[in-house]
Amino acid sequence: MTTQLTRAAAPAKDSGRRSGRARGVRSADVGRPGFAWAVPATIFFVLFAILPLLAVAVLSFMSWGGIGDPEWVGLDNWNRVFDDPVMIKSIWLTLLLTVLGVVLQTPLSILIGVWAAGTQRNRAVISAVYFVPLLLSSTAVSVLWRALLDPNFGIPSEATWLFGDGNLFGEQSTAIGVLAFVSTWQFTPLHSLIYQGAARAIPQVLYQAAEIDGAGRVRQFFSITLPQLRNSVITSMILMVVGGLTTFETVLILTQGGPGTDTTISAYYMYQKAFKSFDFGAGAVIALLLVVAATIISLIVVRLSGYDKMRSTMEGVS
């Protein structure tokens, strides 16, 4: 949007004048702002984001029950967390839900995104409806689905042929299914949006050339569209992985980690440990594990895909 503004404003203003007067002035260094401009925001960010992140590392070696002063306990919290079978189970559940999210959302959002990038009639209206779930808070989405899937008054009670006794929250497999579905419902629009933008940017020349070569639609999709979307696949996967690892509201509201601890994923277990059992040390350990896992997985995805080398998607075009 600003590009258009700049383009409109740019031409006439300076071209004639610069050649005459700019000589002798080291224009590159004149009027450059100093780093002082960045200071207020940086202080604020360090205070309320970086400092707490460092504090979580320190707290993971301390015992604190919510009141009084934290006490140094060394590796005690770490040992307890890794000896805890619920914690180990929560790691597997977190991975399972994250993988389910990627597997469900990626093909769906590529399909929708590529479709929405086209020029069909009514596309704009339909896309407008698509994005609604994305605008809603995770809380609203979870409460909405909790009500819609209510065992007694919800949709499942109307379709017993599909849902059995209608209580989707009573068994581990269906409860996990609900969590994966609700996340997909909420986040597919975001990923479709990413793919839509990327699909629009694919040069038409490529398709025209393919058509001349006699490539069909399916062939075009796999040989042009998909490879051209590679960078977006990576961006969207990183978002899915980080989002999956930190899923919290959906579990808190839809399943409360149940039945039993069958959907207690790590982020929810951290909340329970810290704010229900007042074991803030153990909570800090789990929080730290989450940050480290999210960072490592993102780095691996970036490295494996060669995204850091930023190979151009314009190969063969110019």
């Binding site: 994005f131 609604v132 808070s137 609203a140 009500a147 008054f153 975001l190 990413i194 509201i253």
Partner: protein, 272 residues
């Protein structure tokens, strides 16, 4: 884009439209029925007797107050973001100082910090600062977590400003401050409206910080009110859904009027 319609994607698109729209329809239909009517009929049926008792019921539960609290948090967060981010993005884009590029890397790193990771120490720090159960204690961390993406979006917009414009002003002897006020701010209006809409959405929808940093009704925000309503009256499906819908109305209004800025903001999250 292409001449023949793409049937497979078209079918997927329509199927997904139903999956998205159906729950929204069930929600709206449920909110205008009495509890009894909803329990009797199918969730999918059209309501027979319209009533607004669910909405007034939500107000009786304190949703008016929650609305006001959420509005305060949202306005304050947007205010902080709008004051802090433009100078920061200006320094990131234009400064030759090495500190400025280091700062930018710090904020990029910040993109990877999930709010979940810091709630434990945040609770400690906010309690120590005496801001527990105080809206200020919710506003500060919420605003901080809007900064990385806002910086990314706005510095992207500022990079689009042509070099020759800066050079022309430099030739006229303009100070960095004058360039900021007369050139950068007017030309990055689009980017600024994007970060306003984005941080407003974050603040309005925020749940985790209010959940762990407040407890009384007088500081409750709307998402927390929803959560409590669900745990206490979850059996009252129409009432719960009315509360859910009320929490969405302001966002849907913004969506109607500022769709472009909103979608731009969301695209910014995905790094385009």
């Amino acid at each position: 884009m292409r001449r023949r319609p793409n049937y497979l994607a078209g079918v997927a698109a329509v199927a997904w439209l139903i999956i998205v729209a159906l729950p929204l329809y069930v929600m709206l239909a449920a909110t205008v029925q009495s509890k009894g009517d909803y329990a009797k009929g199918s969730p999918l049926s059209w309501p027979e007797h319209f009533t607004f008792e669910n909405y007034s019921g939500a107000f009786d539960e304190g949703f008016g107050q929650f609305f006001v609290n959420t509005l305060i948090v949202t306005v304050a967060v947007v205010g902080i973001v709008v004051v802090l981010v433009p100078p920061l993005a200006y320094a990131v884009v234009r400064s030759r100082s090495r500190v400025a590029s280091g700062v930018f890397r710090l904020f990029l790193l910040g993109l990877a910090i999930p709010a979940q990771a810091v709630i434990v120490p945040m609770f400690y720090l906010i309690s120590e600062a005496g801001l527990y159960d105080n809206l200020i204690g919710v506003i500060l961390p919420t605003a901080a977590f809007c900064l990385p993406i806002s910086t990314l979006i706005l510095s992207g917009a500022m990079r689009d400003i042509g070099h020759e414009l800066f050079e022309a002003m430099a030739v006229d002897g303009a100070s960095p401050r004058r360039m900021f006020l007369q050139l950068v701010l007017p030309l990055s209006k689009g980017g600024i409206s994007t970060i306003v809409v984005f941080s407003a959405l974050q603040a309005w929808n925020g749940f985790l910080f209010p959940l762990v940093l407040t407890q009384s009704d007088s500081t409750k925000v709307i998402t927390l009110g929803l959560y409590n309503f669900q745990t206490e009256h979850g059996i009252n499906v129409p009432g719960t859904l009315a509360a859910v819908f009320m929490s969405m109305v302001p966002i849907l209004l913004v969506y109607l009027f500022a769709r472009r800025a909103l979608v731009q903001g969301l695209m910014g999250v995905g790094g385009k």
